[in-house]
Symmetry: C2
Subunit: 101 residues, 2 copies
DNA sequence: CTGTATCCTGATTGATACTG
DNA sequence: CAGTATCAATCAGGATACAG
């Protein structure tokens, strides 16, 4: 089922957050680290590599001293924005629903 | 962030599949067990209880001999259908994207 | 039929220290 | 700055047996 392709690619505790963070433009490793609160370096680099493999983001080494690396959403990566929007809207409803109890 | 409320409620390996399965109408425990291939009894009952707590499904005991239990999506539970649709559409695109490599 | 209890295993995560 | 290596801890999930 196609749903699971999406879930596999987007699941994990951080991918959606990382994508959301990159929606505002390219960021460097340390910037993402700062914005995505609570993630460890190891996990961040693994998530980034997976997302690069899945063509969601691009990785560009900028040859300064010391080097910096820029991560950006690909056009394809930007296509998950609707998903985030829908999830966000639904999550909002969920909060209301639960608070009725 | 609201996105995470949605993710928390819908995450886990099976919830989306269970919801999809219930989209076609109420089902009994053993029917869900049969339709959702690969799930264990323990995990199924835990997922169902969580979803009941989150008001996604309702649980009705039918007092036959032996007893049966009917699970149905609440109106609220049905509201996740758009999410499934979006995920499914995106998952389809994803498959195409990956196969280009 | 509809579950619960127990035990087990592999995957995920995180803290810390370290490298180029 | 941008990672990787290592180790320890946690946890989700599964098999099986059993109970109401």
């Amino acid at each position: 089922m196609a749903v699971h392709d999406a879930i596999d690619v987007l699941s994990g505790k951080w991918k959606i957050t990382i994508i959301t963070c990159l929606l505002f433009g390219p960021k460097r490793y340390s910037e993402i680290m700062r914005d995505v609160k609570g993630i460890s370096g190891k996990v961040l680099s693994r998530e980034l590599r997976e997302m690069e493999t899945n063509l969601l983001i691009s990785r560009t080494v900028i040859d300064t001293q010391p080097i910096t690396v820029s991560y950006a959403l690909t056009e394809y990566g930007q296509s998950v924005q609707p998903i985030i929007t829908v999830l966000s809207a639904w999550g909002q409803t969920h909060r209301e629903q639960i608070s009725k109890k």
